[in-house]
Subunit: 195 residues, 2 copies
DNA sequence: AATTATACGGAGGGCCCCTCCGTTTTCAAG
DNA sequence: CTTGAAAACGGAGGGGCCCTCCGTATAATT
């Protein structure tokens, strides 16, 4: 019992694989600008695929976003590990947040993705959102353990703050401004409350 | 010259005034929950008014939001003035931000309104958004003058941060969490950079 | 009561969401 | 090489919302 061979599974159909690829490529292009109104029908059109096919591959908007940005999320998670080993606690945290900002600046759709993920994450914990919370959680715990930042802010809180600040940046050159805001926030985390 | 009588202006039509009022009431109700998908047609339906009438009174979504929340914005602006006279600089700033959060918690639509305003504010400076930047600008300048916070964060920056953080709060009881985030931010503003 | 500036309402064209199902394609067994 | 069924495809269709336009209704004025 258990690992039943489940009969010889057919080889996945060629068109299935092909269309999935087309959809992911098209989605990445459509989401690039990160405009909030990115329409799924536009993705299907660009992929030259029926709308039904899109929905069969990715039943929800979130599922599509997740698939499109999985790679990026994993990259950020890895970066957190690297930084945890090579940098002092607070610096690691700060640098990781900066990296997030840079990534979002390049792939603006990720921001929408993350915002979407948070929206529904309460119940579904959609998207690789928890990958990120885990990653930053490690950095956070480390800094707390070192006594360098306050201990009442959770990883979710931190990501909320980060994403929120990014959400507000849509001027052409928003990166420096948001970076400054995030730096202020980190300063606040590290502020000595007892003067 | 100047104040030309411009011909005897007709008295405004009764139905015009009545419908405007109905629309504002309906909008306030529909926007209460602050759900991002608040539809203007829903507002018109609730006001028992044609959709055309809604658009004639408020040509854009922003215009409607502005009219609905004008009172609240002015209230916050006044509060800033009061606090500036009665509280120490940093405390005033902090308390004003807390008041914002409370206000948003009650009238969730205000958040959407502000976010919308920022979206288009670059050119249009829609909504009473600049009322708020002016208000918080005073508090900020005061604290900077007193040498109690850093001087490279603008009023717009601060509002961006505030609104961003609020945008990320949709759990039932998000107020304490966001308040904590904002407090961290203020701590960061007031952090002594030179150790 | 007649006149006319003002307002009203909702049909209509566009775009999008998502589901459902008849048709087509692919795989693999004979 | 057939052939049959599982697996995919695609897009029509029902439902919403956005916003404009214009024929109709009505309040203020004469």
């Amino acid at each position: 019992m258990g690992a039943a061979p489940k009969k010889a599974t057919r080889k996945p159909r060629a068109d299935f694989v092909r269309n999935r690829e087309r959809l992911l490529t098209a989605a990445a292009e459509v989401f690039r600008s990160g405009s909030r109104d990115a329409s799924l029908e536009a993705v299907a059109r660009r992929a030259e695929v029926g709308i039904g096919t899109l929905y069969r591959h990715f039943p929800t908007r979130e599922a599509l976003f997740e698939a499109v940005y999985r790679r990026e999320v994993e990259q950020l998670a890895e970066l957190a590990e690297t930084l945890a080993e090579s940098e002092p606690p607070v610096a690691a945290l700060r640098q990781w947040l900066h990296a997030d900002i840079r990534m979002i600046a390049t792939k603006r759709g990720m921001l929408t993705a993350l915002a979407l993920a948070i929206d529904n994450s309460c119940d579904l914990y959609a998207f690789s959102f928890h990958h990120l919370t885990r990653a930053v959680g490690v950095l956070l715990a480390r800094a707390v353990a070192a006594g360098e930042i306050r201990d009442d802010i959770t990883a979710e809180d931190l990501l909320h703050a980060l994403i929120g600040m990014c959400l507000m940046g849509q001027e052409p050159d928003w990166v420096p401004g948001v970076t400054r805001l995030v730096d202020v926030f980190v300063d606040g985390l590290a502020a000595k409350r007892d003067r």
